[in-house]
């Protein structure tokens, strides 16, 4: 069963904390409008590759190259929307 958006947001906060090595209490402050790629110094191109791989491992889907764009990684809410969309397919 697909998790609701609140649970999914929690899971992605935990994943960002694990992959980027940022404290959980800092990740807990991420809201839909929180900017990620370009604003979060920990999220460089190498970290993006690891973030995508970890999303695939944990949530059981494959992310194609043409699915990765500014909307998906621009904000925390955009990332949650992307994952939500992948899980509902």
């Amino acid at each position: 069963m697909q998790p609701d958006r609140t649970s999914l947001s929690e899971e992605i906060r935990s994943l960002l904390s694990d992959v980027l090595g940022i404290a959980q209490d800092r990740a807990a402050t991420f809201e839909d409008s929180t900017e990620l790629f370009g604003s979060l110094p920990e999220l460089d191109s190498m970290a993006v590759a690891n973030l995508l791989a970890e999303l695939e491992d944990r949530l059981g889907f494959i992310i194609e190259a043409d699915e990765v764009d500014g909307d998906m990684l621009g904000t925390f809410g955009g990332l949650v929307d992307f994952v939500d969309g992948k899980l509902s397919r």
Partner: protein, 222 residues
């Protein structure tokens, strides 16, 4: 009890093999993941060593301090290195348990291994997909891709992408609790191989060392 690095079959290895009942051959993750896990694997190796288990932890070709760089690497070079190592261990006569991590598991079905143990195994296609996401096209060429900050042969990447995980006979597999794939045991820990900087997880190192020792006992080789 000594714990030092020496050279074995041309590869650096942790050494304390003299009086041990069996030997654990550690196959580290490949490429950058090896650097991110190395400190934790060294802690795990040290714990095994302190518990009277012989440990060999080679740098595979293309990894760590091995003289063959990633740019000259192909699968036959990795396999030849491992054969040289297992031949050397075979002359020792004691049972060998192969403990492999991440994509190191792609090469862990070795002749003479008494049993296998894996942590978070990763098939070749996933490894290559993640590597290629880091490609810098302007630094790449027709023959080599510049990935994860180093030049890697496209032939190697293509060959590795087709490598499935082998299926050794006596196998125990551990995965993280966040990994949905099947395993004999799921453990709570952070995926160190994804971190931006090399980290250290002493609790995980202790847990893995204990699980390896228990598996050796279950298999009757300790």
């Amino acid at each position: 009890m000594s714990f030092e690095t020496r050279w074995l079959a041309g590869l650096p290895a942790f050494n304390n093999l003299a009086d041990q009942r069996f030997i654990v051959l550690i196959l580290q993750p490949l490429f950058e993941e090896a650097n991110r896990m190395r400190r934790t694997l060294a802690l795990m190796a040290r714990t095994l060593d302190h518990n009277a288990v012989g440990v060999v932890m080679p740098d595979l070709p293309g990894m760590g301090e091995h003289p063959v760089g990633a740019g000259q690497l192909d699968i036959s070079v990795i396999e030849a290195s491992l054969k040289s190592l297992t031949d050397a261990l075979a002359t020792d006569g004691r049972p060998v348990l192969v403990a492999s991590f991440r994509a190191g598991c792609l090469f862990d079905t070795l002749p003479g291994a008494a049993a296998n143990w894996r942590f978070a195994p990763e098939p070749g296609d996933r490894l290559v997909r993640t590597l290629m996401r880091t490609e810098t096209p302007e630094e790449s060429s027709d023959t080599h891709a510049f990935v994860n900050g180093q030049s890697v042969s496209r032939t190697l990447l293509n060959d590795m992408a087709r490598l499935p995980l082998p299926t050794p006979q006596r196998l125990r597999t551990l995965r993280l609790s966040t990994d949905r794939a099947e395993a004999d045991r799921h453990v709570e820990a952070s995926p160190l191989w994804r971190h931006a900087e090399p980290g250290e997880d002493p609790a995980l190192a202790a847990l893995l060392a204990e699980d390896i020792r228990n598996w050796a006992e279950t298999c009757g080789i300790s």
